[in-house]
């Protein structure tokens, strides 16, 4: 690799991001120390806006898992889970999180000082089975109040009035539960404000993603970590401010015509969750002057919310978050990919067949067919796992990708 080909991928914003991550977990520990309640909750839902509006600190085990993978404590957590009898075939998020909660939590040297123990748990029937089961285990593990509620899985295109109405009733149950716990009434204005922040964050997020339509693209999938604020800081200014900074930075790059790599030749689409323990993988494509410019995963965390209707908005967010990424709305997902291929001028697609995650991986062969037959976009699928490096073979990845990239180059 020659010197001028060296990647310029890292965004400045990463420095701020590292602080935001540290601060999020430090906040949790502070809340704990000050006697403010900490609740562990499933990811991707409108509960977070409620939490922030009520000064309750949320912890997302599912966001903790990628951190463990990046820091390398995942393997230990997996073995705790296995020793407890959990099959190694189960989702890596599940195995990491319950392994951590059951045993890892008492180990020294956890990333960022570990997680503050929960003062209560929200166990939602919603999302995928492994997420539901994670909370089952947590409810058994921690002797704390639990709110059981749910929001069923409905394909996005099938959502009707009664789904939203039911969602609102569940949000009201949660509000009553949190009010009982904190002894404070929910201030509806604060909730509207939180919803407005999320809406704003989503709007900026869309703009950030859209800058990648430019050739050369200002950043690649290796920057997916900025999604942290979309998961943990929705409903707050932190997300809005940070994303605004990211937006100016990437816009600057676009204006200067500065791409992730100097001679961008091939633009790739990525399907499924990244390999959190190996984010460098996204740079592998550089040797062919190729960049990953769009992903299904990053599109799934953004939607518009209406501060005038805060309860409906958070119910809607909770309803659609999971169907958007998974096979619940396979048609929607395919539509999203169709649009991305057009808008981002995609030359080829890389599909990570993720052994951990059935809901996101099912339907990938259908996606490949649409890419081939309808869109004339070549694609390649490789076997991997978003959490467990033991289920990913770099050698196999290289063999598949090398052949694929040669083929794409020959086409272009």
């Amino acid at each position: 690799m020659t010197e001028e080909k060296k990647t310029r991928k890292r965004l400045q914003a990463n420095t701020a991001l590292r602080e935001i991550i540290a601060e999020f977990y430090a906040d949790g520990h502070r809340a704990k120390a000050e006697g403010r309640p900490v609740g562990w909750i499933p990811p991707m839902n409108g509960l977070i806006e409620l939490f922030y509006a009520m000064d309750v600190h949320p912890i997302f085990p599912e966001n903790w898992a990628p951190l463990c993978a990046a820091m390398g404590t995942n393997a230990a957590n997996f073995s705790f889970a296995e020793r407890r009898g959990y099959s190694p075939d189960l989702c890596g998020y599940f195995r990491n999180n319950i392994g951590y909660a059951l045993d890892g939590i008492s180990e020294e040297n956890q990333p960022l000082g570990g997680l503050p123990e929960p003062d209560f748990l929200i166990s939602f029937g919603a999302g995928c089975v492994p997420t539901m089961k994670t909370f089952q285990v947590l409810c058994d593990r921690f002797d704390v109040p639990v709110l059981r509620a749910d929001l069923p899985q409905v394909a996005m295109e099938d959502i009707r009035e009664h789904h939203i109405e039911y969602g609102v009733t569940q949000m009201k149950r949660l509000i009553a539960f949190l009010e009982g716990l904190t002894g404070k009434k929910l201030d509806m204005d604060r909730l509207s404000q939180a919803v407005a922040y999320t809406d704003e964050a989503c709007r900026i997020w869309d703009e950030i993603m859209e800058t990648r339509r430019n050739v050369p693209a200002p950043f690649s999938a290796a920057e997916i970590g900025i999604m942290f604020v979309m998961v943990t800081r929705h409903g707050t200014r932190v997300a809005v401010d940070f994303l605004n900074d990211v937006l100016s930075e990437v816009r600057g790059k676009v204006e200067r015509g500065e791409g992730v790599i100097p001679n961008e030749r091939i633009r790739l689409f990525w399907d499924n969750i990244p390999l959190w323990y190996n984010m460098k993988l996204f740079n592998y494509f550089e040797k062919w002057d190729a960049v990953v410019v769009a992903e299904t995963y990053t599109s799934a965390w953004t939607m518009r919310m209406d501060p005038e209707k805060p309860l409906e908005s958070i119910a809607y967010k909770t309803l659609v978050s999971y169907p958007l990424v998974s096979c619940v709305s396979l048609n929607k997902r395919i539509e999203l990919i169709r649009n991305a291929v057009r808008d981002y001028r995609i030359d080829g697609a890389v599909l990570h067949s993720n052994m951990s995650c059935k809901p996101i991986s099912m339907g990938q062969m259908d996606i490949q067919r649409v890419l081939r037959d309808e869109l004339d976009v070549p694609s390649v699928m490789f076997d991997g796992d978003h959490m467990d490096g033991g289920k990913f073979s770099m050698a196999q990845f290289q063999t598949r990708i090398d052949a694929f990239m040669e083929m794409l180059l020959a086409r272009s």
Binding site: V137, R148, H162, M355, G363, M365
Partner: protein, 363 residues
């Protein structure tokens, strides 16, 4: 005729029924689909169930880490075994079947398809929500059949299903009381109730019970509870009982769980909702505490000596409940065995493990 015989004739029976009534036949992917509603429209619900000629027919559409039952069902669809269906219906339970539903709809292209999603908690609001879910389905069935929904007709369908479940429950009771009924028969009865018209199965059940009630209870072997999702391997079930043990209770996809309660009297739609929400939960429903409680109660009520978990490889709901249930059993001193099926049916390895388990129980 017996249950196994009826199963062999499924295709002819459904064909005849279709000719007789002219009504559509809808495939279902889960026992949470409200079959009573379909029946009230004259529709014949047929659970998509069984073994493909070659599971690999699904390889082009499903990754290798999807559970064998889902691979089997899709392979059967691709083999054309369900071409007689007018559509399919699903109720969200596990993620793999949700994927199956979507892949089926895209690739087999049924004329009609619909997925409902039931709530996980049983509250006033969730019942209202479930009623609305059923009403959406009703609207779609009205368009499909061109008939208007009738509460009276639903009430009739409910009483037919109630009666059938009552009879099936009696078979379980006789078995638990020591009657020499093979569990393989019970399994076939369960499948019949899912894949054949309700009236026909009830008639067979009446005859079967007539014969069985006269049998004298035999000596009591080891009393086994079978737990798992779908167990379609008759040889496996037969082998367990060939050791002298008796499977007197089950906690499986098609088993006793569906027979535990009746659809109560009252306004038919609301009663139907009540039945589906209050039924003992399967592993895919979020209510784990009830699942454990029901298991513990069954151990007591059926005097269970040992539990055999028959799991399918890559089955998230059951594999994640297993350590919990195992712990609950250990706390009560009830031994258990877990076998994981990989799609090859009853292999020598599975056999050896079961033999080993029974030997261990002897010592």
């Amino acid at each position: 005729m017996d249950f196994r015989g009826l199963l062999d004739e499924q295709t002819d029976i459904i064909d005849a029924e279709k000719r007789r009534t002219g009504a559509p036949v809808l495939g279902t992917l889960c026992s949470y689909v409200p079959v009573e509603l379909l029946h009230s429209f004259g529709i014949v619900p047929v659970r998509i169930w069984g073994q493909a000629d070659d599971m690999h027919h699904a390889d082009g559409l499903l990754q290798s880490y999807i559970c064998p039952p889902v691979r089997n069902l899709l392979a059967m669809g691709l083999e054309g075994r369900y071409d007689f269906l007018d559509g399919i219906l699903h109720c969200y339970t596990c993620d793999a079947t949700c994927g199956l539903y979507n892949v089926w709809v895209r690739n087999i292209e049924p004329r009609f398809s619909h997925m409902i999603s039931l709530p996980y908690v049983d509250t006033d609001e969730s019942r209202r929500y479930a009623t609305a879910e059923f009403e959406v389905l009703i609207g779609k069935l009205e368009s499909l059949t061109g008939d208007a929904f009738s509460t009276d007709s639903l009430a009739e369908s409910i009483s037919l299903y109630n009666a059938q479940r009552e009879l099936m429950r009696e078979v379980y009771e006789l078995k638990a009381a020591g009657c020499p009924i093979e569990y393989a028969d019970i399994y076939s009865m369960n499948v019949c109730s899912q894949v054949l018209p309700v009236g026909l199965v009830a008639a067979e059940l009446r005859e079967y019970l007539e014969r069985t009630r006269k049998m004298t209870p035999g000596p009591d072997g080891r009393r086994i509870l079978l737990s798992g999702s779908v167990v379609t391997d008759l040889p496996l079930l037969e082998f367990i009982e060939s050791t002298g043990a008796a499977i007197v209770a089950d906690d499986t996809c098609l088993g006793h769980r569906l027979l535990e309660s009746r659809i109560p009297d009252g306004p038919p739609l609301e009663s139907l909702v009540e039945y589906y929400l209050s039924r003992p939960p399967c592993a895919s429903r979020a209510d784990f505490p009830s699942r454990r409680r029901i298991l513990e109660e069954t151990l007591e009520s059926h005097g269970i000596d040992a539990v055999i978990f028959v799991h399918q490889k890559f089955c998230d709901p059951h594999l994640s409940d297993h350590p919990f249930l195992k712990e609950a059993l250990e706390a009560r001193g009830v031994p258990s065995l877990q076998v994981e099926l990989e799609g090859e049916g009853f292999t020598g390895q599975v056999r050896t493990r079961i033999e080993g388990f029974f030997e261990m129980l002897e010592t």
